[in-house]
Every structure is written in C-alpha cells, then in structure tokens.
Amino acid sequence: MAPTTFSVSAIRELFPALRQKVYGKQLIYFDNGATSQKPQVVLDTLQQYYALENANIHRGVHYLSQQATSAYEAARRTIQHYIGAKAPEEIIFTKGTTDGINLVAYSFGERLKPGDEILISAMEHHSNIVPWQLLCERKGCTLRVIPISKKGELDLHAFEELLSERTKLLAITHISNTLGTINPVKELIEKAHKVGAKVLLDGAQSIQHLSIDVKELNCDFYTFSGHKVFGPTGIGILYGKEELLDSMPPYQGGGDMIAKVTFERTTYNTLPLKFEAGTPHIAGAIGLGSAISFLQSIDMQAAAAHELELTKYAQGILDTFEGLHIIGEAKNKTSVVSFTIDHMHPFDIGTLLDKQGIAVRTGHHCTQPLMDFYQIPGTVRASFAFYNTKEEIDIFVAALERSMQILGA
C-alpha cells in the first residue's frame, strides 16, 4: 500500500467540484452528510469503464466481459478488505443503504413471527424506520424504540430494559445524520447478542468518517451508500456474516442470482450473487472500489482529527450566537453541526446561505420523529468532510451573520 498522507490543500486539488463558483461566489460545500463530492480518480474510473471496459459480467466468454467481471469482483475484494470482512461472499452490492436495509427486512424478516420485536432508536433516518414498520405489518411483529436524551445520546438504561428474548433484531444507526452522535455500537452489539438478537448497523454516516472493522464490531449486518463515501450514486454495500446470509432466502429474483431455472423448480446461486439479481450497477461498483482505494491512500486518523477540529471550531463560534441552539451535543460526535435559530425558519437561512455560495441542508433530514422529539420543524445542518477548511467556516459564519441580520431586521 502507498504511504498515507494528509494535506487538506492537496486533497482539495483532487476534487473538481470544489473549484467551482455558484452565484459568482466560491462554492463552500457543507452538505457532505447528504452526499460527498467525487475525487478525479473516481470520475476517471467511471469514464474508463464506459469508454473501454464496458461489458456485461459473469456470463460472457469474451475478452471485455472477463475484464469487466474481474474489475467488478476486484472492487468487491477491495471493499471486503477495507471493512475487514472475512470473505468476498459477505459483500453484497446494493443500490445504497436504503436498499441494503430493505433487503434485510425482506429476506431476514422472513423468519420473524408474530410477537417478535425489532429494536430501533429515536434518532433513525426514515430509511431505518419504514422498512421495519412494513415488516411489522407483514409479520405481526412489534417495533420498539430506544429513547434518547436532549443531548442526543441513546438512553442505554432504557435500551437494556427494552432488550428481551423477543428482540430478534437491533437495527441502529452507527452515526446520526441529523445529530452527528456516534453511538456506542460495540456495547450495543454485545448486549443484543446476549439475548440472541442480530444487529444491523446503518453505516451511511460512519463509513466516510471512521475506520470500520466489521469483524471487530461483530455486527451481523453493516450497510452503506457509495455516494456518501466519495463514490458514485446508485451503488451501496450490504455486509452480512456469511452463515447468516447463507441462511436467508433471496430477496429479488432474476438473472445472476440463479443456479438453474426450470418451470418446476429454480435453484439459487451461491453468495454473494444470490442477492444480486439482474445486471448490477457494474460501473458503480468499480467506481466505489476506486473511491475506497482512494480512501486507503489517505491517513484516515488524521482526516478524522481534522474533521473533529472543524466541528469544534464551528460549534465554538456558533455557540456565541444569541438565539442559536445546537441540536445534538453528544460527547462522542462526528462532523455534523445542526442548529436552529429563534424566530428564523431553517428554509430562510438555507436559502440565504445558498445565495452566498454555501451549500447546507435544511429541514427534517428524513428524521421526522427526531424533529418531533425536539419539537422543531427542522434544523440547518452543516456537515463537513476532510476536504473542508477553517477558512470556509469563517466565510460560512460571516454569511450566517448576514443572513440573520436580514431576517431579523
């Protein structure tokens, strides 16, 4: 592996999107929680694939098909090694985090019975709520919710109270997209396993910030989206323990996932193809492999330290603003700063920041139950990636002041 380095200015050079101006202003991209920008190497990989390597995979006898197949399977192994999975069979290509959760809800969900319980938390994204609600409706199971404190931390005492032999699955976010809270997943996983429950981690917000080792975490499923980790949209990963995935029925039927089809009986392909029906997003998978290789060239510890510094810096300044409330003050949190301002609507603040070249997210962030908990309509959320800088935060702060002035006057 190439030696890892961390220099923000050098990294910024690799991201063409960061160089552009919007409304005549230098773009400041603080919406990384929604999606990350793409490094040139990922763009080149996609271009190269479509230009020269494009072919359908797995069944072709010709040269290009074999090239595409090896590139696709090499991407799977890159991702396998990056998250510490035991075997490539444990890495399923999906459309994204939501798709991965739905796969588990449908396939693993088949074994659930009336009275069984699924445990989630109050800080989940809608994608980690609705598939379980649908499953509960299908199977007569019950959805239980771990409450959180005002600071945005899980109530661990309540969690233990909620755990029982009825708990069949704990489906929980590793990092909250709205609050930035990093949940103590290792402890949660251990305790859930003690009652015999399986654990799914929603890794949509953790893969790009933390070093993930699924073996060490000992989670049963871990799912994430490619586009939030500097890769293409429309591709994601579901990691599952091999023996568990093996015991689950197929989710969708079609090409690639079969061994033999007759009208009387069809036998299914082995892992991981059993869960990859139809022509997959080949370019996306190869692009994601390239994004992960890119991450491997970066000192992720230094990157995480830089992101944390940005967060502390931004929070330190915003804390001094009168009427501004930071939502999500967990002790252990990632580079998300969500806030509300008295008498000002997040939509208005977001619109004015946009016109000053700053991309933030406003609204409920697909976490409406969480907004209900805080009794707010939404927040303004700035979420940083390792390519962001303190200078950008200074410009953001000045733009926010100006916006507040206009709205308050």
């Binding site: 409304y23 609507h345 939509f347 208005d348 977001g350 004015l352 016109k355 409920h364 939404g378 206009i406």
Partner: protein
C-alpha cells in the same frame, strides 16, 4: 391592471437588483409586510404541507372576483406568496385560469416553484387555480 401588466410591474421592480442578496432582502421585506393569517384561518384544510416550509391559503369569492390571503412559516416563502397574491387578487376566476405565470421565471425565482423545492409554493399556485375553477363551476 391585467394579470399580464401586474406581472410586468413586478419584473420591472426587480430589474434594479442585480445582486442576489438584495433581491432576497426585498422579498423578505415583502414577506414581513404580508398580513399574518388569523390563527382560526390556519386550518388543516387550508394547509399546504411542503417538505421545507408550510403554506396556508384562504380564498374568498366576492362580486365575481377572487380574493386570496395566505401565510407561511418561512419568510421567503411568504414574500413570494405576497407577489403571487399581488398578481391574482381581485381577478375573475376565468382570468386566473387563462393566465400564464411568467414573472417568477423572469425575476430568477423559478427554483421556488420547482416540484423538487417542496416549499408548498407550487402546490399553492395549483390550488389557487383549482379554487378559481371551482368558483367558476358554482
């Protein structure tokens, strides 16, 4: 003034602003000057829920003319509502139905009426037209 002329008037007003922030400052001022809808009028039936901001629309037909009053929890949305009301108020249902809304595009606010914006404004315009149609049918 016709709907056409009223729209042209707004376009002329906005022509003096070449800076985005000045334009929005003007919209925000307008938003602040639009009367708030009385709480009893903010009913569920009048609510147009958007993903980003909510809009309430109250309609009245008096002497064959439509009268709109509306409100929003976001001030920029409310400012644009002010402009829409300016254009459609005191017009006959037929005139509203026949009209084409072009000023929003011309003053560079098309994004606010895009289906992806989800601030309730597009639905509000649709509802204004639906209510005009219903008035015509009565």
């Amino acid at each position: 003034m016709t709907i056409q002329e009223k729209q042209q008037e707004i376009i002329d007003e906005f022509a003096i602003y070449d800076d985005w922030m000045d334009k929005y400052e003007y919209i925000i001022e307008l938003g602040k000057s639009v009367p708030t809808l009385a709480p009893e009028l903010k009913t569920k039936e009048r609510l147009i829920e958007g993903c980003q901001s909510n809009v309430w629309l109250a309609t009245e037909l008096k002497d064959g003319k439509m009268h709109f009053s509306a409100d929003s929890d976001a001030i920029i949305t409310k400012g644009i509502i002010g402009l829409l009301i300016q254009v459609y108020n005191n017009e006959s249902p037929a005139a509203i139905l026949q009209s084409e809304l072009f000023f929003i595009n011309q003053i560079g606010l098309a994004e606010h009426l895009s289906p992806t914006r989800a601030n309730g404004l597009l639905s509000m315009v649709k509802r204004m037209k639906t209510e005009a149609l219903q008035s015509l049918a009565q």
